[in-house]
Symmetry: C2
Subunit: 274 residues, 2 copies
């Protein structure tokens, strides 16, 4: 199997994003390896040893996605037996011409926090994470005035991971509120605490079969996990969303990244982090 290396003098997150997008175009099975913080020629030589060893072991040329500020370090990597790709190669010059300024490469600018103003944006992101944790699963409803968004849904429809992703990735204060049997499912009304927050509500739902699978992993054979119960709860909660004009999303086929991006696309939520 071919080995893919993501190598950088920083976190390698950019090289990973670039490589993952490239590889998504090709139906090929590969093994992934990240070598981050390669910030000296010695470390680069060590990386080259690993690249060449992977080549020798599989007989297939490894593919290298890399981003480096230092040309000296970059040269060591491109001297390896791997097939090397640096997406900055083709774009820095046209971009420089368009902006009318010279590039000033600097390590750790992409995912770092040392730039002017970036510390504030970073702190507000961490504050959002703390907020979302404190407002997970209907706890702490006193703080809903501060919420940027409140996710609604029955148990196990993805509210918690979505809230945390919105907070971590975008700095959005996302609370979430579970609709449970205490809310009288037979005659489901919008819970009182949410009535004044209607404009912040966003519903999540799933296909009954998927919810049944997820709940069965948690409590196999229970009434809670039964197809009948899952179907009933989802049907009632979707009726509620429609009646109250709460925007909602069936997340069955989406990852947490996609759910979060869709919520941003469908609401006017302001991102506090780019």
């Amino acid at each position: 199997m071919r080995t893919i290396f993501y190598i950088s003098d920083g976190t390698a997150l950019t090289a990973e994003a670039f490589g993952r997008a490239m590889l998504s175009m090709f139906p090929v099975k590969v093994e992934h390896k990240t070598i981050a913080f390669v910030d000296s020629v010695e470390k680069a030589q060590l990386a080259v040893t690993k690249i060449n060893a992977a080549h020798a072991a599989s007989g297939e040329r490894p593919i290298i996605f890399h981003t480096f500020v230092s040309l000296d370090i970059k040269r060591v990597i491109t001297s390896s037996e791997g097939s090397c790709y640096d997406f900055l190669d083709y774009f820095v010059e046209p971009m420089s011409a368009e902006l009318g300024i010279q590039a000033q490469p600097k390590t750790h600018r992409t995912h770092g926090i040392q730039e002017n103003g970036v510390r504030d944006s970073y702190d507000s992101r961490i504050e959002a994470v703390n907020y979302s944790l404190a407002n997970d699963d209907g706890s702490n409803i006193a703080d809903y005035d501060q919420a940027d968004i409140i996710l609604l849904g029955v148990s196990r429809t993805g509210k918690t991971p979505t809230s945390l992703y919105l907070a971590l990735h975008y700095g959005i204060k996302a609370a979430n509120y579970p609709i449970t049997e205490d809310d009288d499912m037979e005659n489901l009304q919008l819970p009182k605490v949410l009535k004044h927050q209607r404009h912040k509500l966003f519903g999540l739902t799933l296909e009954p079969q998927r919810l049944h699978e997820i709940r069965s992993k948690r409590r196999e054979g229970s009434r809670y996990a039964s197809m009948q119960q899952c179907r009933f709860e989802l049907q009632e909660v979707e009726k509620l969303y429609r009646r109250e004009a709460i925007p909602f999303l069936d997340s069955t086929r989406f990852s947490v990244e996609e759910i979060a991006a869709k919520i941003l696309a469908e609401t006017n939520l302001e991102r506090h982090h780019y």
Copy 2:
């Protein structure tokens, strides 16, 4: 100010990563806008209207980072007044030659969950998030056998956001355990529950000034937030890390992305998600 657009038929996360990395090379202030899920010619025309309006408003040509599977939609975007960059343009052909297979562009492959096997990797990532939440802040210590890593540190040194990031981004089951005054700071020992988990421990620390600032936001003027107390706690916990040979990191200058990447680089933690 120049407007930067990130546009895609999917989440636009790849376009954002590409654009952010490009822009990090240039010291320039810009405004960011994302238009995700542009999956029809009509939506693309709407995006073009926004691009051209931004041009008219600022007098500066917007910069567009885009990724599209459909050439028809892409053509609409590149017909706008913006300066357009698609990083796939330059790389698909050489990559295709290297792999010996044709590209098979497909929407939602990068951040989707519909591919074979991807659902399992995705589910294990969500399981890791649930694990990290249940094992936040020293709760639920009975489950430490299942942990991939246990983060240690005094209050407000970044344990929780780091655990959640490790879980969400890499599918790593990250627990965290707070060192508090209950642990007898004057004579700090490794807490008993951690003795059998020593190989999983990773410490976090901060500069006293930074911890003082963070704690002051929470409880201004308290003993807990005082410089003296912060300095004392950090000094004692660092002594503990050294004595017990626990790897640790001063996270003062790092973002949660960088902390997580550094932990991966310094341990042999296996990622469950790429």
